[in-house]
Amino acid sequence: MNTKKIKNFFIFAVFVFPALALVLFASDIPFVMNMYYSVFNWNGISQDMTFVGLDNFIKIFTNDHFFWKSVQFTLKYAIFFVVIINVAAISIALVLSKEKKSSSVARAFYYVPYIISMTAISLLWKFILGPGFSSLYQITGWEFFNWSWLGSGKLAFIVVVVMTTWQNIGYYIMNYITGIIAVPTELLEASKIDGANRWQTITKIMLPMIMPSISVCLLTSLTFSFKIFDVIMVFTKGGPANSTASVAYNIYTEAFLNNNYGLATAKSVVFVIFVLCITAIQTKITKGREVEA
């Protein structure tokens, strides 16, 4: 009996430990180090650090309105992004999951923005929103093209949502197509014979069957939106007037521009706890609705 347990554990170890070790090294341990730094006052450069206990945490909750502003932005962004990208991706995936030649070409096209690096993308959008829209305004006369897209907080928010949706949707479409194709066609045929119309087929049969894909995509889009940084860093730089600063950006500027590494790591700890709670709730909801094969 004992040898069997040992043998099982050994097999478990061989399967699990390499990947676990990689993750511990690349992320988990650094994060624990973060927790250590969060109780110090350190500028990130010097050799000395002063121990300040929970001061950094107190400061976050009493005297840091930019942090909370960025939390607000990040949450708002997360809601919009998660809903829009998943709804759009499912709809597009439903259309593109057919075996047609044009479908596979279109699928590739949707993925293209994912391949382009952020520096090129920000250049593109800068010119589309600036000179591009100006020319379109002159041609069509639609007020839409004349709004100050990057000059006002509300419009800049929309720009960020649109940009990131445009860039990432290819991944979600691919995921959903994988899920949709795996649904046995007999089920769909059977429902059609039973007289269900298209909408009913989608909502009562398709969606529950692809719940695993939905679960994955929801979590991925949720965690992606919580971590949003590249777009802000390269394109909006938190502007205009700090209205598009995300939490990751706030932490980054705190660490590297304000040289307040202790405070920055404290913020990251607070934020992670917060994200964990939300994702735990979300996973519970979607896991509960999954239908196993």
Binding site: G44, S46, S148, L150, G151, K237, G239, P240, Y252, F256
Partner: protein, 419 residues
């Protein structure tokens, strides 16, 4: 099929690991340099222009010092973050560039002290060395070039509008704008999208010529001065109103690229930038006729400001394994013939070293006249508490969009400086 896949995977992993083990290790020698031993100097630079000339200069050094390799990391973007990470990873570069003032001070504990190397220090202009001196009077970093910040104007457009004398008061500035507008020219194209550009602009209005940057920053820090009571700070808002009224429709969408591009292509007459954009202006339009316009900040024509400072300084790591060679390299890039060639021709700026050499940049030459006449002042934003321009820039933006009032912005400036 699966077996084949598995074998391929394992082989790739193995080759990856082997390649990793084989390549990329440094061969550092302990002790001082000897010409026949292999030395690698790791250098950290923060600029993305003059790169070709830099490479030439580094190659020359290597040729003159056989066995020495220069490894440069040009980290123009995120240079602060990258340098910090390297310092923390115990991978401190042997020679690295930082912005003088508050930024450089953070690194002084790692810096080599040049105070006893009189022969090197004598090569530099004395005022230039002041920027790299710590509170005890030790020279901890060597200055690179004079960088000048202020308003740049398009001479051809001014001529076209019939402006014969440069405006020196805000009233004259407004009159000039009206003339430009009449001639169908867009007067302003501030890079209002860039928080840092607006932050720098605001320092012109913080300046008090009787105290210079040192005095102003010290006064603000110890409370003897407040933003509200600064002589010309309220005029910042008048200036911004002008820039908005006489500028493009969507001021906050103009970033540095578009701002400089408009100036170079004769599409806008005035921007707030500095002579570091020389290379950009040249590539946009080599025939552009641009110069410095001392910034009017009040009714008093004597108050006009151009801010000049030896902003970037080079620090040598005092714990470097090749200290002598690192020092030699630092001296080389700043003072030698090849280094001067990089600075004057490649970068196009006035070096901090005393020299008669001609400088290629027209803007730098333009500013040089003001510097020599003693009409310029030092930079404030590099002496301000860390993160100044990044923090206050958004407030200025908020004023321009109308989301914050003048008093609210002044309040925020104050709370940033004295929290």
């Amino acid at each position: 099929m699966k077996k084949l896949l598995l074998i391929t995977l394992v082989v790739s992993m193995m080759s990856g690991i082997l390649a990793g083990c084989g390549g990329g290790e440094t061969t550092n020698e302990s002790g001082d340099a000897k010409a026949d031993e292999k030395i690698v100097l790791s250098v950290f630079d923060a600029h993305a222009y003059g790169l070709d000339e830099y490479a030439e200069m580094a190659a020359k050094f290597e040729a003159e010092h056989p066995g020495v390799t220069i490894e440069v990391q040009h980290a123009a973007n995120d240079s602060a973050a990258l340098l910090q990470s390297r310092v923390n990873a115990d991978d401190i570069p042997d020679v690295f560039a930082v912005e003088s003032g508050t930024n450089a001070q953070k690194y002084y504990e790692y810096a080599y002290n040049w105070s006893d190397d009189k022969d090197v220090l004598d090569l530099f202009k004395p005022e230039a060395l002041a920027g790299g001196t710590d509170t005890n009077g030790n020279v901890m970093s060597l200055p690179w070039t004079y960088e000048n910040a202020g308003l740049l104007y398009n001479k051809d457009l001014f001529e076209q509008a019939g402006i014969t004398e440069l405006p020196r008061t805000l009233d004259e500035l407004e009159a000039a704008c009206q003339k430009l507008e009449k001639a169908g020219i867009t007067p302003f194209a501030l890079a209002a999208k860039e928080a840092w550009a607006l932050g720098q602009l605001s320092t012109h209005f913080m300046m008090d010529k009787t105290m210079d940057a040192e005095g102003v920053t010290a006064g603000l820090s110890d409370g003897s001065l407040t933003f509200d009571k600064l002589k010309n700070f309220h005029n910042l808002f008048r200036f911004l109103d002008l820039a908005k009224k006489y500028g493009p429709d969507k001021p906050l969408e103009t970033d540095w690229e578009i701002s400089e591009n408009m100036l170079a292509n004769n599409q806008a007459a005035i921007i707030s930038m500095g002579d570091w954009c020389q290379s950009n202006l040249d590539s946009f339009n080599p025939d552009a006729n641009v110069g410095f316009l001392p910034c009017p900040v009040s009714d008093n024509p004597e108050d006009v400001t151009i801010l000049s400072s030896c902003n970037w300084t080079y620090i040598v790591n005092k714990d470097s394994k090749n200290l002598e060679m690192a020092k030699e390299y630092a001296e080389y890039i700043l003072t030698s013939e090849a280094g001067q060639s990089w600075i004057c021709d490649g970068v196009g700026s006035v070096p901090a070293v005393t020299t008669d050499r001609e400088v290629k940049g027209t803007l730098a030459n333009d500013a040089k006249e003001y510097v020599e006449k003693g009409e310029t002042n030092d930079w404030i934003h590099t002496k301000a508490p860390a993160g100044f321009t990044q923090a206050v820039g958004p407030y200025v933006q908020a004023y321009m969009t109308g989301d914050m009032s003048e008093d609210e912005v002044i309040q925020e400036f104050q709370s940033f400086w004295t929290p």
